[in-house]
Point group: C2
Chain length 187, copies 2
């Protein structure tokens, strides 16, 4: 009953699944359309190219995280509590949801050209994430918020990658502890 096309949504959802789990250059259009139950013609009706679907996939990941932050910000009043919630949220995401690394880092590994739309989407996401973290850290009244936010971005990258390659059990406690140290929060 959706006025918005269901074929496009299925395509995007399928792409999100498969691109993340198996890589981007490794999966072809045939695979995508057959998995989404859609024909090639329909694919090219909604996306001018495969690259554009890749970009849309990253954009939807970006949107999902922004919404997560927005709802977390709305649910919590105390800024210090929000920071703690963010750290816990990252830890949970890394152990349960994003177990194959960071979609943006993985995509960047496959797209060396920084001017490519896919890389622009990565850049956009990282800029937003960094700026958002600066706000959260600043609101929590922590000194040198830019520097701390930088470190937290680094640590989240590391947590995502490390959880994929070494397992969350080793990495997540290390992430939480290091993040608290950097932010100057006592356990």
């Amino acid at each position: 009953m959706p006025k918005e096309s269901t074929a496009r949504e299925r395509l995007l959802a399928t792409a999100g699944d498969i691109f993340y789990r198996e890589g981007i250059h490794a999966v072809g259009v045939d695979r995508l359309v057959s998995e989404a139950g859609v024909t090639r013609a329909t694919f090219y009706r909604y996306f001018p190219s495969k690259d554009e679907l890749v970009r849309a996939y990253l954009e939807s990941e970006d949107v999902a995280l922004r919404e997560l932050f927005a709802s977390a910000g709305a649910a919590v009043d105390d800024p210090a509590e929000l920071l703690e919630l963010v750290l816990q949220g990252i830890a949970a995401d890394v152990s349960q949801h994003h177990t194959r690394g960071c979609p943006f880092i993985n995509a960047a590994a496959e797209f060396p050209d920084a001017a490519h739309p896919v890389r622009v989407a990565v850049r956009t996401h990282r800029d937003w994430f960094e700026a958002t973290l600066v706000e959260v850290v600043k609101a929590a009244g922590i000194a040198a918020p830019e520097s701390v936010a930088h470190s937290l971005v680094l640590l989240r990258d590391a947590a995502l990658v490390g959880s994929y390659l070494d397992g969350p059990d080793v990495v997540v406690p290390s992430f939480v502890e290091t993040a608290r140290t950097v932010a100057g929060i006592s356990a």
Copy 2:
């Protein structure tokens, strides 16, 4: 004058360059052989498959880093000084040499199957690196060396990825500072 084949060496060197700079699935055998000045027949004389060349590429990266650590260990006596040298070495490597991220992390992004030879090479490398860091940290007389070494592995992952995506100027100082904090070393 080398008894050892020069064709194989050229192939491996070329693969190291191109795989790192452009990704793995993105470059074909045609490209590799033409860039190395070698024919397809010669390629398949030395490597049973492209995947095997990928594995050999990662192995050579692994060997290079082990040699770097070995020579650093031989050049320095004071364990605390060695740890500092390792941190500086990572910082330098990240800003000057490995500016397209971590070869192992990038490869893992393209090879989702943990049992694949390429992923086994990644596993081997990370196990060695972690164990080596534990030794260095322990020798420096730092408390909880396993935990600290874990954190340093994470931070190096983050520095490599972050330097690629955000630039070394932002990331390297953050890496050095956070690493010193984690290791309990004063500036």
